[in-house]
């Protein structure tokens, strides 16, 4: 196992190096001028050229690449062209918000999806199965911005139960009398609508995977043996069938958690959630190379490491798997 993990880590380093290179080339090939929006209508081409030189964009591509590699190795990912701040600082500000929302969303969806997937499989062909499966298919194929705006309209505006958007309300956070508890409540309160949207969109995927996996498991000989031994239905379902059906769901949840750091530009935009997804889209659209490269690299790193973690977890979940 140790050898396997070491091998995988070496592979990850090689892949990351390739990703670094691909990201660098892709952003330079993309059309657009990173300083086009930083100039005013009276600025001369000479001033624009000076700005480009100051940002290091006038150097030959190979020199830019070497500088970029050198900086990455020392943990310096540069400054955002538009914010003027170190990109790691920008990512550091936004990433916790994204992780909070999307990881909670994945976990809630997964818990409900697994539970309802078991229920659907156990009641295969019955009304429960039909309703849960159809509901999953419908909700999973909804258009996210439409659903989000609908929830905002109904629960945020018409019923006025929840805030329309944002992560916190300035009324609470700027109030000198607000305590820590009230501020924590405020964050949770603002999470309800975006979490509801993510939950509705994603629980169906876990439900369907769990249902399908569970149906396969229920055909296994050890389930018949368990019944022959006179075990209760509950014991068969929860202790014999479900644990063996978890493997594909674990993969799915693991990768979803990894990708949750990528955020969701649409969810974050509609709910004005100050996460990394919106920044990533902004960075790409504005040719903010340092910010875009560092954000993508972070996503790639987390996904690669999560893959490794999931693989290792497999060995613990299924004793038959050995590396």
């Amino acid at each position: 196992m140790t050898r396997y993990v070491i091998n995988r880590l070496v592979q990850i380093v090689v892949i990351l190096f390739m990703i670094l290179t691909i990201l660098f080339v892709l952003f330079r090939l993309a059309p657009g001028d990173p300083v086009a929006r930083m100039v005013d209508p009276n600025m001369t081409p000479e001033d624009a050229a000076r700005l480009i030189a100051q940002l290091g964009l006038d150097l030959p591509i190979w020199r830019q690449y070497l500088t970029y590699l050198g900086n990455c190795l020392t943990g310096n990912f540069g400054h955002s062209f538009h914010y003027g701040l170190p990109v790691l600082e920008i990512i550091g500000q936004r990433l916790p918000n994204t992780i909070l929302l999307f990881s909670t969303g994945v976990l809630l969806s997964a818990v409900a999806g697994i539970a309802w997937g078991k229920l659907a499989a156990w009641n295969k062909g019955k009304a429960t199965d039909l309703w849960l499966t159809v509901a999953s298919l419908i909700t999973h194929t909804l258009f996210l911005p439409w659903l989000a705006l609908l929830l905002i309209w109904v629960f945020g505006y018409k019923l006025d139960w929840f805030p329309i958007n944002g992560m916190i309300s300035d009324e609470v956070w700027l109030d000198p009398d607000s305590g820590v508890l009230l501020k924590a409540w405020d964050v949770a309160y603002h999470m309800i609508l975006p979490l509801g949207t993510l939950f509705i969109m994603h629980f169906g995927a876990y439900l369907l995977v769990m249902r399908s996996s569970m149906l396969e498991t229920l055909k296994e000989d050890y389930i018949i043996t368990a019944r022959a031994k006179g075990l209760t239905e509950k014991a068969i379902r929860n202790h014999h069938a479900a644990p063996n059906a978890w493997l594909p769901v674990v993969t799915s949840v693991g990768l979803s958690l990894a990708f949750s750091i990528n955020g969701g530009a649409l969810t974050e935009t509609v709910f004005s959630w100050p996460g990394i997804g919106r920044e990533l889209v902004f960075a790409v659209s504005q040719n903010d190379y340092p910010l875009a490269q560092a954000s993508f690299l972070l996503v790639a790193s987390v996904v690669l490491i999560s893959n490794l973690v999931v693989d290792v977890l497999y060995a613990y979940l299924d004793p038959r798997i050995r590396y």
């Binding site: 657009g32 209508p41 290091g56 705006l149 944002g166 009324e171 309160y189």
Partner: protein, 582 residues
């Protein structure tokens, strides 16, 4: 077999969720605190990129920076003339010595230290020394700046520059105490300008009506009243200044949908953005909301590449100008929220605007437009395999258009921003394609990412036509010369069309040196007349700015070109007595 009970988790989860939701709703029912009764809440679509005044030029940053960093002169809302702001009186110009002398009002920074002539001198010298991109061109003609005493500054120019007073003296004044150490630190680095632009400004010293109190990145930015604001209680340009509000919170909304709902709900008092026509019906019916329409200093136009044929042919451009029905664009694309532009200077710029309507902007029927365009093209030597012809009311479109040498016309591109960036300009591109196609001009609209389009037009210069716009042009007409001077026809230069006219260059240079506005006015108007005739750009429309605000908590919104989101509004707004947030 025993029937399976419903799983405990599956049943309890929804119940727990409902209980959790109800519990979470409890804090919202708590009575609102009183601390924010006089705080104005403004909805914006993006947060400011930076409060570093040297770096950020985007409109969202400018909104906030305008409340922190003040200029010597500020345009007043009625006549749009520069009014003394940090300056105590109009600048004194000496035409022989080419100097402007400016006397300052007594003013203080937000830390209580005095604002002196040394701050003004330092700001100008820093801009010149590091060639700060946002401001360098404004100070290009500045030869020397000196403090004559604590309250008096003298700017000496190396050459006459008609824009200097309006533009350079309208630039913000920054604190020497805050920025000199930064400048010295930047000078020690390999790239001083980049170091300055990347300087993280934690606690900006303000000389404006507000000062930064708290900035939660991506969520809100809170400015509180600056107790040292020089204008408090003063009357400038006939307007009594406050601010009477205790602060401003800028709240970030990812979409217009959310911002408009927040306005209707009363979460914000003002949505600082143009309200799209789709929202207007609901907003009009809401008694708490007031819609304000303002002129913009904007220009949306169709540009031609004069470096290649057929767009380099004046007759061809005139034919295109005839085929584009601007009234139709206003009515259908802008849904009435805009005005036709005939001259490149917006009509809001009353002093310099040329109020002449060229023949191609006269009210013509579609048939008249097509017939006249065909005549112009035929007169210039263009020919068709099948000439456009009317069969009753039905047009048989032209086919196989050939240039004066008899070669078939290649496909011509009309570059536009994509519909998700600006649906109106994208739609104009499509309509132009259709209208040009009616006489056989093989044009096709090509939406592309905005940055890519700018690169294609300004750097590569590979295009035939493009639809572009400037939403907030300076009121000083100096940019008109920059856009069309022959010397600016170079990669990244502002002469995007590649327009060359010795007559225009001569006028633009004269206008650039005319220090007396009365002398400059006819020159600028003649420049517009020439551009109207040569049509390197075909001005299309100036959209009307529609903004939405609530009047139940604050009164005193100041309307001017560019909308109610202006410094005068923030200095004059007054809380209505006894009106709490809904």
């Amino acid at each position: 077999m025993m029937r399976a009970p419903v799983f405990r988790l599956a049943t309890t989860l929804p119940l727990l969720t409902i209980l959790l939701v109800l519990a979470l709703m409890w804090p919202s029912a708590a009575p609102a605190a009183d601390w924010d009764r006089d705080v104005l809440r403004v909805g914006v679509l993006e947060e400011p990129k930076s409060l570093n005044p040297w770096l950020a030029g985007d409109s969202w940053s400018s909104h906030v920076q305008a409340l922190l960093y003040q200029p010597l002169y500020l345009r007043e809302p009625a006549e749009l003339k520069p009014a003394p702001w940090l300056a105590a009186e109009p600048p004194v110009f000496d035409p022989q010595a080419l100097t402007y002398t400016v006397r300052l009002r007594p003013a203080r920074w937000s830390d209580g230290s005095p604002l002196t002539a040394a701050d003004v001198v330092f700001t100008a010298e820093l801009i010149q020394a590091l060639k700060v991109p946002r401001f360098a061109s404004l100070f290009a003609a500045l030869k020397q700046v000196e403090a004559l005493d604590q309250q008096t500054v003298r700017f000496k120019l190396s050459r006459p520059d008609a824009s200097f007073a309006a533009r350079a003296l309208g630039a913000p004044v920054l604190s020497q105490a805050q920025w000199r150490p930064v400048l010295e630190q930047c000078r020690l680095t390999q790239r001083p300008l980049a170091s300055l632009l990347q300087y993280k400004l934690e606690d900006p010293l303000s000389n404006g009506p507000f000062v930064l109190a708290e900035w939660r990145k991506g969520v809100y930015l809170y400015l509180k009243r600056n107790p040292h604001f020089f204008g408090q209680g003063l009357t400038i340009a006939g307007r009594k200044l406050g601010p009477e509000i205790s602060g401003v919170v800028f709240k970030v909304y990812g979409t217009s949908d959310a911002a408009v709902l927040a306005l209707r709900k009363g979460t914000i008092d003002y949505y600082w953005n143009n309200v799209q026509p789709g929202y207007l019906r609901d907003l009009t019916r809401d008694p708490a909301v007031r819609l304000v329409q303002s002129q913009k200093s904007a220009l949306y136009f169709l540009g031609f590449n004069l470096r290649r044929l057929p767009t380099g042919e004046a007759a061809f451009r005139r034919a295109v100008a005839l085929l584009i029905d601007k009234q139709f664009v206003i009515k259908r694309v802008l849904q009435g929220a805009g005005e036709v532009m005939s001259s490149l200077l917006p009509a809001g710029n009353r002093f310099y605007h040329l109020n002449t309507v060229p023949d191609y902007d006269q009210p013509l029927t579609r048939r008249q437009r097509i017939d006249q365009a065909v005549e112009i093209l035929a007169g210039a030597g263009f020919s068709w395999d099948q000439r456009p012809a009317w069969e009753g009311d039905h047009l048989r479109p032209g086919r196989g258009l050939r240039d004066p040498e008899g070669n078939p016309l290649r496909e011509l591109s009309i570059l536009t921003p994509p519909a998700d960036y600006d649906p109106q300009r994208a739609m104009v591109g499509v309509m132009a394609q259709e209208w040009l196609g009616q006489v056989g001009i093989p044009a096709f609209a090509r939406p592309m990412a905005f940055g890519a389009m700018l690169e294609q037009v300004k750097s590569r210069r590979e295009f035939d036509m493009f639809v572009l716009g400037y939403g907030n042009l300076p009121l000083d007409p100096g940019w008109l010369g920059a856009f069309f001077l022959g010397a600016n026809d170079r990669p990244r230069g502002w002469n995007m069309s590649g327009y060359h006219s010795p007559e225009f260059d001569s006028l633009a240079n004269q206008a650039g040196r005319a220090m007396d506005p009365q002398e400059r006015q006819p020159l600028v108007q003649e420049m517009q007349r020439i551009l109207m005739k040569d049509t390197p750009f075909l001005p299309l429309y100036n959209p009307t700015l529609t903004e939405a605000l609530r009047e139940d908590r604050f009164s005193g919104w100041v309307e001017m070109v560019g909308g109610v989101g202006n410094l005068w509004t923030f200095c004059e707004l007054t809380p209505r007595a006894g009106r709490a947030r809904p």
